[in-house]
């Protein structure tokens, strides 16, 4: 591991000043991804600035929704009774990710900023445009089972690994950022980028920007919401494909609907086209298929030495249909007869 210093400032503002003043400084929160990257040589900062205890570790009621401090552990967020009752999609997404130990370490602010698990990104002996811009993409023609089918570029076909982020995208969350120029709120949908010709930039955040809290607005429809993750083993694995969705029905017709996909793109993928098909429709297998078709119209499979990732296209279609069927068939917890 390359030598570095580790600062432990006393306030978030001090931390922002410290990172902003040093181009080779990075924030350290739960460390579950960064400490591994320090060992692998994927990250080689001169300075770590520990922010683990500098942002709120509390979940507060906020305008009918929730304000989640960036320091809230993934395990605490998943166990929160308000999240479980009002935003089950978020609790389910969190519980489907990583292991209990990692969820005890990982934070609300850090989770969305974790980096791709593309094997080439993590292997410093191979070219990778995300790790080393301009060096090439080793995934093209390589192992692509976990790679993107939507929004990829010739420079990068990596996928975003977070489950929590897919749920927060469906929930129209807001990301509160403290930066060198002050505070601002970034809509969660705008946080992550598609790779284009700058796959080294995962998000729109600039150097020194620190996530201080994430707000989730009131969403009555989210009481009937779900996260379904499909992976190579039953636990402790990243998603091949995942679906976060919530639906409310009025007189048997879809009123509110949110759909986001994980494991398919460089960023958590909001399925606006699918939502458009579903809104105002009467739930049926045909409608679900039409929604998936609309969203996947531009999907492109990758060849690969492992057989490629063409399987993801029908897998998204089936997983989306299964989630929508569950959400529109079953009575919710507060309805009688369950």
């Amino acid at each position: 591991m390359k030598p570095f210093t580790l600062d432990r400032p006393e306030t978030a503002a001090d931390a922002v000043r410290a990172v902003a003043a040093d181009p080779a400084a990075v924030y350290l929160a739960g460390g579950t991804n960064l400490v591994d990257h320090l060992k692998l040589g994927v990250a080689a900062p001169d300075r770590l600035v520990d922010v683990k205890t500098l942002t709120s570790a509390e979940i507060r009621d906020h305008d009918g929704g929730l304000a989640i401090g960036a320091g809230v552990r993934n395990s605490d967020l998943a166990a929160d009774s308000r999240v479980r009752a009002r935003f089950p999609v978020l609790a389910e997404a969190l519980l489907s990710g990583a292991s209990a130990q990692l969820r005890n370490m990982a934070t609300t602010g850090g989770n969305p900023l974790q980096r791709t698990r593309c094997v080439y990104f993590q292997d410093v002996t191979t070219p990778c445009n995300k790790r080393s811009p301009g060096s090439g993409c080793s995934a093209l023609g390589g192992y692509t089972r976990h790679h993107a089918i939507l929004g990829a570029s010739e420079h990068c076909v990596a996928t975003h690994p977070s489950d929590m982020a897919v749920a927060l995208l469906a929930l129209d969350a807001g990301v509160h950022v403290l930066g060198p120029e002050g505070e601002r709120v970034v809509p969660f949908a705008d946080l992550h980028r598609l790779p284009g010709d700058r796959p080294d930039r995962d998000t729109v955040l600039g150097h020194g920007d620190l996530i201080t809290q994430i707000t989730v607005p009131a969403a009555p429809w989210a009481r009937r919401s779900r996260y379904r993750k499909v992976r190579d083993r039953a636990s402790y694995a990243f998603a091949l494909v995942s679906v976060a969705a919530g639906v409310s029905l009025v007189d048997g017709v879809v009123d509110e609907v949110r759909v986001a996909l994980g494991g398919v793109a460089h960023k958590p993928w909001r399925a606006h086209r699918a939502e458009e098909v579903l809104r105002g429709a009467r739930p049926s297998a045909e409608v679900f298929r039409a929604a998936a078709d609309a969203e996947l119209a531009d999907a492109r499979a990758l060849d690969g030495v492992d057989g490629g990732n063409a399987f993801k296209i029908p897998l998204v279609r089936r997983t989306l249909a299964a989630v929508l069927r569950d959400l529109t068939d079953e009575p919710t917890a507060e309805e009688p007869g369950r």
């Binding site: 591991m1 030598p3 570095f4 210093t5 580790l6 432990r8 350290l28 460390g31 579950t32 400490v35 591994d36 320090l38 060992k39 692998l40 770590l48 520990d50 683990k52 395990s75 998943a78 166990a79 479980r84 009752a85 089950p88 609790a91 389910e92 519980l95 489907s96 990583a98 292991s99 209990a100 130990q101 990692l102 005890n104 370490m105 039953a234 636990s235 402790y236 917890a333």
Partner: protein, 177 residues
């Protein structure tokens, strides 16, 4: 907690491990796992993958199970660390340790301290009513089943494949409370 800067970027921190107080000088690169094993001589937590994938290094950090290989030691100033060895009360084994013996919850034993610390964390989380990925509905209180135990232990790998005994041991320790 006051820290003292020394040459080479090392700083002195204070922490308690299994009830004993230490004041080591710590290099910023040092993980909690390496601090425990290499510097303090506490060899109960094991180094398996060193990348957060196997769970052999699991310890309780301020009461919660974490992976010591992914925690930088300097961030543990003022912390209370409990390893599997520290769960016992002298020669009197912790119920989880006794149950692992009775159910053959291991073969080579290398993953066992991590398994036992992880199981101790599991029991506390279950007692607090925390749901898991296999809980029927996240709004429900979880039921004490083998499926719940297996899911909650998925972060601890056992290359010998002693999983059946591990689940039985945790089931027994959980029921005996």
């Amino acid at each position: 907690m006051a820290t003292t800067e020394t040459a080479g970027g090392s700083r002195t921190i204070e922490l308690r491990v299994d009830g004993t107080a230490y004041r080591p000088a710590v290099d910023p690169r040092r993980t909690l796992l390496d601090l425990l094993r290499e510097q303090l001589g506490v060899t109960s937590p094991k180094k398996g993958c060193d990348h957060g994938q196997c769970g052999a290094c699991t310890v309780l950090l301020d009461g919660r199970r974490v992976l010591a290989c992914l925690v930088l030691a300097l961030t543990c100033d003022g912390a209370e660390v409990t390893t599997a060895a520290g769960l016992a009360d002298g020669d009197h084994l912790h119920p989880l340790q006794q149950a692992f013996l009775e159910h053959d919850g291991f073969q080579c034993g290398y993953c066992t301290p991590g398994q036992i610390c992880s199981a101790a964390g599991l029991l506390a989380e279950f007692d607090a009513g925390a749901p898991s990925h296999v809980t029927a509905s996240v709004s429900d209180t979880p039921q004490w089943t083998d499926e719940e135990i297996a899911e909650r232990m998925s972060g601890n790998l056992c290359r010998c494949g002693a999983y059946v005994g591990i689940v039985a041991a945790i089931r027994q320790a959980g029921e005996a409370r």
